[in-house]
């Protein structure tokens, strides 16, 4: 089985789906000849031509707006937003249009697409190349939100997303784009959307994370193990739909939960997870659900190590939760 990093896995999934389905098209800024600023679409224009791998003008609202029209007509567009931070010019098209087409037309029209975008910090990008805006989309009914943490899931989830009948926001953890390597089967890989993965079993506390922060949670769990604390680690993979059953099952067992995300704490997805857990596991909870997150500031530049909820802060939270 070949070893890949996440970019290669994304590229592989795109290529295979484009070979399989003539309706799949890729569009965005710099995705064509250049193959994307992170090179995720490298080589695709050579193979599939300019009609199916399209360099667009510089306007995210146009990228998504035209992708909607393509999807309505029956193509399966996979638009790229160069950085998740630059998705806001397309916010109206995504929240008002993509999310609502099926609903507002009584099911007559629908515009499934996969909006791929690199997200997250840790690459010295400052606040316009580091943000994690997933909460906006999770809050918007009609959208699915998927975040892989490793190459295998990146390939399998992207493939599933492309075949999904609903629009999917596909956030790629750019901090581990190249660092996260692993074996990925050749040919079709499908990872179902909506299923979390228990990547480590434990009985003292449940760690809930996704994307780049899964790696930090995993690291913290290893360090906790050395202290005799057995942390169970969940890689959510899909934030909407959320695998609430997996979370509940784990927390009913451990009685404690720590949620980790990069986005600012207030109104981040961690709040929703905490709310759900206390609604569903109230009598089993031994400590408050604890959030280890980015702070309530714009994403900083120099102090990004301090800002990011990395393993040391997670470990501290684990210890406090277990000692509660």
């Amino acid at each position: 089985m070949p070893t890949m990093n996440i970019i290669q896995a994304v590229n592989d999934a795109l290529r295979l789906e484009m070979r399989r389905d003539r309706d799949v098209v890729v569009l965005g800024e710099d995705v064509g000849k250049f193959g994307g600023v992170f090179r995720a679409s490298q080589g695709l224009q050579e193979e599939f031509g300019k009609d199916r791998v399209i360099d667009t003008p510089l306007a995210e609202s146009g990228v998504i707006g035209t992708a909607i029209g393509m999807a309505l007509y029956g193509l399966k567009p996979v638009p790229e937003i160069q950085f998740a931070d630059f998705i806001f010019p397309a916010m109206d098209q995504i929240l008002s249009e993509v999310a609502k087409y099926r609903y507002r037309s009584g099911g007559q029209y629908t515009c499934p697409m996969v909006i791929r975008t690199p997200y997250g910090g840790g690459i010295r990008g400052g606040h316009y190349h580091s943000q994690s805006p997933e909460a906006h989309f999770i809050h918007t009914a009609g959208l699915k939100v998927v975040v892989p943490s490793n190459p295998h899931d990146a390939k399998g989830l992207l493939t599933s997303a492309i075949r999904d009948p609903d629009p999917v926001l596909f956030f790629e953890p750019k901090r581990v784009y190249r660092a996260a390597k692993g074996e990925v089967p050749e040919g079709e890989v499908l990872v179902p959307i909506g299923k979390a993965k228990v990547t480590r079993e434990g009985r003292h506390v449940t760690l809930i994370a996704w994307g780049a922060m899964w790696h930090e949670a995993d690291q913290a769990a290893r360090e906790a193990a050395a202290l005799g604390i057995e942390a169970e680690v969940l890689d959510l993979r899909s934030l909407q739909p959320l695998d609430v059953d997996a979370i509940v099952a784990s927390v009913l067992k451990t009685g404690r939960a720590v949620v980790v995300h990069e986005a600012p704490r207030t109104c981040g997805f961690g709040a929703e997870i905490a709310a759900l857990i206390q609604e569903r596991c109230f009598l089993s909870l031994e400590a408050p659900v604890t959030r280890v997150t980015g702070f309530d500031t714009p994403f900083p530049y120099t102090l990004e190590s301090e800002y990011l909820p990395r393993a040391p802060r997670i470990l501290k939270a684990i210890r406090e939760v277990v000692a509660f």
């Binding site: 707006g65 393509m70 009584g106």
Partner: protein, 379 residues
């Protein structure tokens, strides 16, 4: 026709002359007329129906039988001239005044009225407010409220058709206010770069709610905005059905031949308030409105038809009576449906299949309704 303040002595008005076909007395130069007589009569009847629908629905709104209405009184030639100039296979991306386009493309009148009522017969399942219909069978795409979002979408659909090798030209309608919006800009720009077969029809009706056209943009014409995108622009008398239809045919032919998009400015006027929620007397005078009423597009085409001796005044009256009766029957049939769609429709169509939240929340709602019937009743 009221002119906007010129910035360069009418230069752009000369570059983009306001084309018309029907003269004030109803006559026309035969060389300018491309529309066959039977189609002219047919479109006249459509315009009459459109007017009847709009007038009746405003009445229903005043009577509290529907909550809201927004129509196209005075703009019928622009709507029907364009839709009739396209092929049946072409997709339509409406703003929110082109209901006649949906009906022209086969949406049953009763279905349209059910949409206004949001009742159990509503094809949109009561999900959308009145006048935001969709009719996929007629390739009439779902109406949205946020201004101009449909423009890049139309470009995308036309692009997709070209990728697939289909001869399909997408048409999108929008107001002159919409040309200020982001999506007009990106739509036109994307279409220009990639020579997309799309027809962008601006219903320049002089007003965006209370904002007059000269506070919307300093460009002397809307058509000249085409220059910014390297695309073809044209300006036509939007109250002259023959002129609108001819311009649409030309633009469609250009697009279909790979010559790229057209921005077609139809100069017309919003004779009524913006919608039933609006009172235009707060911001504009009667003289302007009266001047435009005299330029009514239905009267205009009517004069042409009688000049050509295609219809008699009695026939015109007959069209009106017939339309009124059709509308009456449609309202009657529509009002016979239950006032509300079933409870579960509230959760239908959010996703292809409901997620666990929607399923749980439906159960939660059912339980709440069972516990207290006021849950399902507005105060």
């Amino acid at each position: 026709m009221p002119r906007v303040r010129d910035i360069e002595d009418g230069r752009w008005e000369r570059e983009f002359p306001l084309r018309s076909v029907i003269r004030d007395d109803g006559s026309a130069d035969p060389a300018d007329v491309a529309l066959p007589d039977d189609q002219a009569v047919d479109l006249f009847r459509w315009m009459v129906l459109s007017r009847e629908v709009d007038e009746r629905m405003v009445q229903l709104q005043r009577q509290g039988r529907i909550a809201f209405y927004i129509g196209a009184i005075g703009e019928e030639a622009t709507v029907l001239g364009t839709v009739a100039g396209m092929e049946q296979r072409d997709w339509l991306f409406p703003s929110y005044r082109e209901h006649a386009g949906a009906l022209f493309r086969g949406m049953p009148l009763v279905t349209f009225v059910c949409d206004l009522l949001g009742n159990a017969g509503d094809r949109m399942l009561g999900h959308q407010m009145p006048c935001h219909e969709a009719w996929a069978a007629g390739r009439f795409v779902s109406i949205s409220a946020p201004i101009a979002t449909q423009v890049p979408q139309a470009v995308g659909a036309a692009w997709a058709a070209r990728i697939r090798g289909d001869d399909m030209v997408a048409l999108t309608w929008f107001g002159e206010g919409a040309t200020s919006a982001n999506d007009f800009h990106t739509g036109a720009n994307f279409a220009g770069v990639h020579k997309i077969p799309v027809l962008m029809v601006c219903r320049n009706n002089g007003w965006a709610i209370s904002v007059p056209r000269e506070l919307q943009t300093a460009s002397e014409t809307i058509a000249q905005k085409a220059i910014a995108y390297g695309i073809h622009g044209e300006r036509v008398d939007g109250n002259d059905l023959l002129a609108v239809h001819a311009a649409t045919r030309r633009a469609r032919a250009r697009a279909s031949a790979g010559q790229g998009p057209t921005l077609l400015e139809c100069v017309t006027y919003r004779v009524e308030g913006h919608s039933t929620s609006d009172d235009p007397r707060a911001y504009r005078g009667a003289e302007e409105v009266d001047a435009w009423k005299a330029r009514d597009p239905i009267l205009r085409l009517g004069r042409y038809l009688s000049w050509k001796k295609l219809v008699s005044p009695e026939e015109v009256e007959g069209f009106r009576v017939e339309a009124r009766e059709r509308v009456r029957r449609a309202v009657e049939e529509a009002e016979a449906f239950a006032a509300k769609p079933a409870l579960e429709t509230l959760f239908e169509g959010v996703y292809a299949e409901p997620l666990w939240q929607q399923r749980e929340q439906l159960e939660e709602l059912r339980a709440a309704v069972a516990a207290d019937p006021r849950v399902a009743n507005p105060r």
